[in-house]
């Protein structure tokens, strides 16, 4: 960025040079949103055509509903975050809409279990919260003040399910009259906020103080202690609840944020060693996890044993059946996966019916979303905003990798939800909040005149600001 011309007035200080106006790109966002909605409606119609030879009667209503939600979100962004990255919202709408199409498509195979209407309600709620966050949170740095409240809430939310009965082997749900949600999903945002705030405040101490043991420099326990304690606590709770995916996510999130904050490669090494030890311990001691590792090592063992294909084998069959071009929406048989076909394994339906081409497009959409988060992080000047953006984007990246790698046999399976795509209310709502925060952060990053004078401290330009 070119250095601004030195002036005295506050307003002119960060203004771009005359003749250079940073475009807001809201028009681009709107046209991308129209495309996203049209793609989703097309997919919805195609499912109907493939299954019953007719466009579903409510295709127009579905399109109108999705379009209205997208429009409202767009207007909120236009009003309160005009410089936000124009790709974030359209990608989220497209992913959410495709998820609805896939769930609707799977509903057709399971008449007893209709999940699409519920998912639509949760999506609406998610977009609603997106709008609320964009409208009310004028500056992301506000969150920095609530770091300790965040972490307390996060731990509370995570501990809560212990008092509720386990569902499908994992104690991660809270059921209150008919409704159920996973508090761990919300906890990951709060934890990212806390990590970002704590690391932003203490990163110099973490990076430069402490004593050196052999060639590794360890920071003082006073600085490192609290954050490691929180992190261990949250991972410990999750392991107790057998929510392996989320504990893996928190592990990765912590290591990435710590590395970005301090630049100490040693931390990554320590993190990886700890992760490997923990994974080995859990994998060999915990029967639930042990069976999943076994399944990953040999997905076809149950077939040889005469028990028919297991879930992972069915998932691999589904992906293989998709091949290069896929069977076409509505024409696959991923319902053979059975349990969790709409949630953990929804990617298999995408793979079978859209093929490698469609799946690659899907991965690239996620990659774009993550990249835009990183981009916002790079452009921001305050460490908290940076770390928050990186943390939120990393949550998406890690989650996509862990779940996609799990259902495709790359890594052992851990129950997690594909962001936006999978059935699951808490997950959809959480992801919309993540996107709302990214929109907010990216707006700050791209606004030509960040209102720093209002409250914040300009981050000192340190040696590593290259």
């Amino acid at each position: 960025m070119t250095a601004p011309p030195p002036t005295n007035t506050k307003d002119a200080r960060d203004a771009p040079p005359p003749g250079l106006r940073i475009p807001k790109r809201r028009g681009v966002e709107l046209s991308l949103l129209v495309c996203a909605v049209l793609i989703c409606v097309y997919g919805y119609a195609e499912v109907g055509l493939a299954r019953s030879g007719a466009v579903p009667p409510d295709a127009a209503r579905y399109g109108a509903g999705l379009g209205l939600l997208a429009l409202l979100a767009h207007l909120a962004v236009r009003w309160r975050a005009p410089y936000a990255d124009p790709l974030l919202l359209p990608i989220a709408v497209l992913l959410n809409g495709l998820g609805l199409v896939l769930i609707y498509r799977l509903d057709l195979e399971t008449p007893g279990d209709r999940a699409a209407p519920t998912q639509l309600v949760w999506s609406t709620l998610g977009v609603g919260l997106f709008i609320v966050v964009v409208l009310l949170l004028r500056d992301h740095r506000l969150l920095q003040r609530y770091a300790y409240l965040s972490v307390a809430t996060a731990l509370g939310l995570m501990i809560l399910p212990i008092f509720f009965p386990a569902v499908n082997g994992a104690k991660i749900w809270i059921r209150v009259g008919g409704l159920s949600f996973q508090p761990g999903e919300f906890a990951k945002i709060l934890l990212a906020v806390f990590f970002a705030a704590y690391l932003a405040a203490n990163r110099n101490a973490l990076a430069y103080t402490g004593r050196t043991v052999w060639r590794l420099q360890f920071p003082t326990g006073r600085v490192l202690g609290p954050i490691v304690a929180i992190w261990l606590l949250s991972v410990g709770v999750l392991v107790l609840e057998r929510d392996l995916g989320t504990s893996l996510l928190f592990f990765g999130l912590f290591v990435i944020m710590l590395y970005v904050a301090t630049g100490r490669t040693g931390w990554i090494a320590v993190g990886l060693v700890l992760a490997a030890a923990g994974a080995f311990l859990v994998g060999s001691l915990e029967p639930h996890v042990h069976s999943r590792v076994q399944d990953w090592l040999d997905p076809f063992a149950s077939i040889r044993a005469g028990d028919g294909p297991g879930q992972l084998a069915q998932s691999l069959f589904a992906f293989a059946a998709g091949g290069m071009l896929g069977a076409g929406l509505g024409l696959g048989h991923s319902v053979l996966i059975g349990f969790a076909a709409k949630s953990d394994f929804i990617l298999a339906t995408a793979g079978e019916e859209l093929g490698l081409v469609g799946l690659t497009a899907l991965f690239l959409l996620y990659a774009l979303l993550v990249a835009r988060g990183y981009r916002a992080g790079l452009a921001l000047r305050d460490p908290f905003g940076r770390l928050l953006a990186i943390g939120l984007a990393s949550i998406l990246a890690l989650q996509v990798f862990v779940i996609a790698g799990g259902v495709m046999g790359l890594i052992p399976l851990t129950g997690m939800a594909m962001p936006f795509l999978a059935q699951g209310g808490s997950s959809v709502v959480t992801n919309w909040i993540i996107v709302a925060l990214l929109v907010r952060v990216s707006d700050s990053a791209r606004t030509p005149r960040p209102d720093m004078a209002d409250g914040g401290v300009i981050a000192p330009i340190t040696e590593d600001e290259r």
Binding site: F317, F319, A320, A327, L356, V370, Y374, L378, E465
Partner: protein
């Protein structure tokens, strides 16, 4: 900090690349192995997701499909299951396919690339066409006549149009209902078990998959060999064979059922079925020439497909003279399918040439557009035309005033040969009654039908068994229908 953000971003890129590479591995490089895994239900689901094409007889389908509402959606049904089971076979979701259902499976199930308007693109898109239809050469009335004639007794009938090789009837008895094997579940498994353990072996296709000692019907083959080799030049001349005949190199005496066989002519031997004359002729022709001759009829051919494979009819190629003598009258190790013996009759009727026998006239798309037609192909020249002409006269004489009078049809020229094949250890088994024949309407240019009938009747008393008595009436009934249909075809 920027440097570390970039490195974290690079890590995310690595994760993305890992996902994409893994996706390509599963969905492209290892896809075939996953697709073909027997535990993968997709192939079965797609295969049974559409109604199968039909197998038709005389323009009417003898098969059907029923929407079961199950995961494997369409089950096969059969309109006259037991009657056509030796033609259609079964198409079972549990036990696979047999016979035409198997041989034409890709067409019936719609995967045959020939069904697609653009086969290459179809290969890429893995599209699927509606199943095509198989038009058989079977004539319903002949099939019914044969089935009625056997009347549940163990046996088989094969009828061919000699000039074209079209198989007009193919019956095996006792038969079974192939529809009971169509679906899945315990009822199907129970039926399968019952059919497989039944002493009657109802699922055995006796017309093409079972070989029997052909007995005296084989004498036509020996006679053709003798005439072609020049061992006999005048069918009415004495053959210089003693009665009784001592098998060469042994002290075993070969008896005759008939009388007057001593030194009898070939004509007399065919007419009254003299064992001694034909055994002697076989030895005179010699092993090499006999083997050459029988192979021209299709014996020892393992490659015959109609399009279902046909069991090999056997004539040993390495024998001593006494064994050769027995083999020449259709005993020892000589064994033939009913279809093979129908081909022998057809060879005589068609001036020595055998047209390739076939069961499928043509295949069509679901819309009725012809995909493929089975053209007439020559199988083999079994004997010289002059030899065939002489044998025709001998077979006609056997029907008019010999052992085969039960097959005579007024207004038609009928040639036949009886056989009563002894078998079992020391010939203790109930003999098989054989009859092979052909018939030509007197006003027609060519024979209408050649037929072979075998009856293995365990219930009948041994002495009552005879080709002329048990098998010839069935052959006559089938030939009568054949002549009638041919006359209708000629507009009479």
């Amino acid at each position: 900090m920027i440097r570390y953000i970039r490195r974290a971003a690079a890590l995310c890129l690595v994760l993305l690349v890992a996902l994409l590479v893994n996706a390509a591995r599963v969905m492209v490089f290892e896809a075939d192995a996953y697709d073909e895994n027997p535990a993968n239900r997709r192939i079965a689901i797609t295969r049974w997701g559409e109604p199968r094409g039909e197998i038709t007889v005389d323009g009417h389908p003898v098969t059907g499909s029923r929407d079961s509402g199950q995961q494997l959606r369409y089950e096969r049904t059969y309109t006259q299951g037991p009657l056509y089971a030796p033609v259609t076979g079964y198409a079972s979701q549990t036990y696979g396919t047999t016979l035409l259902e198997s041989a034409e499976d890709s067409l019936l199930s719609g995967t045959d690339p020939m069904l697609a308007p653009l086969p290459l693109w179809n290969d890429v898109s893995r599209g699927r066409q509606p199943g095509g239809d198989v038009v058989t050469t079977i004539r319903a009335r002949m099939q019914e006549a044969a089935y009625r004639g056997l009347d549940g007794r163990r046996g088989a009938v094969a009828a061919i149009e000699p000039a074209s090789g079209r198989i007009l009837a193919l019956v095996s008895s006792p038969s079974y209902e192939p529809g009971v094997l169509s679906g899945t579940g315990p009822a199907v498994a129970e039926s399968w078990k019952r059919l497989n353990t039944s002493p009657d072996q109802p699922m055995l296709n006796r017309a093409i998959r079972q070989t029997y000692p052909p007995g005296s019907t084989f004498k036509i083959v020996t006679a053709a060999a003798a005439l072609d080799a020049g061992v006999v030049t005048d069918v009415d001349a004495p053959t210089d064979t003693p009665d009784p005949f001592v098998l060469p190199g042994t002290r075993q005496v070969l008896p005759n059922e008939a009388t007057g066989c001593a030194d009898a002519s070939l004509a007399y031997a065919i007419q009254w079925s003299c064992n001694t004359v034909m055994a002697g002729l076989g030895v005179k022709v010699g092993l090499t020439d006999m083997v050459t001759a029988v192979e021209k009829f299709g014996f020892d051919d393992t490659g015959l497909r109609i399009p279902s494979w046909v069991a090999k009819s056997n004539f040993d190629t390495d024998m001593s003279d006494d064994q050769l003598a027995l083999s020449s009258i259709g005993q020892f190790d000589t064994a033939a399918t009913p279809l093979q013996m129908a081909m022998v009759a057809a060879a005589v009727a068609n001036n020595g040439e055998i047209a390739y026998p076939h069961l499928v006239d043509r295949t069509t798309t679901a819309g009725g557009t012809t995909v493929d037609t089975t053209g007439r192909r020559s199988y083999r020249q079994a004997m010289r035309p002059s030899t065939a002409n002489q044998l025709q006269n001998l077979m006609v004489r056997a029907v008019e005033e010999g052992t085969g009078t039960n097959a005579a049809i007024p207004g038609a020229r009928v040639g036949g040969k009886t056989g009563t094949a002894q078998h079992g250890l020391g010939n203790t088994g109930t003999p098989y009654a054989w009859f092979i024949a052909w018939a030509q309407a007197t006003d027609s240019a060519q024979p209408a039908v050649a037929v072979a009938v075998v009856v293995e009747d365990a219930e009948a008393s041994r002495t009552d068994i005879s080709g002329g008595g048990n098998a010839a009436p069935i052959a006559r009934a089938v030939m009568e229908e054949g002549l009638r249909l041919e006359a209708e075809g000629r507009g009479r």
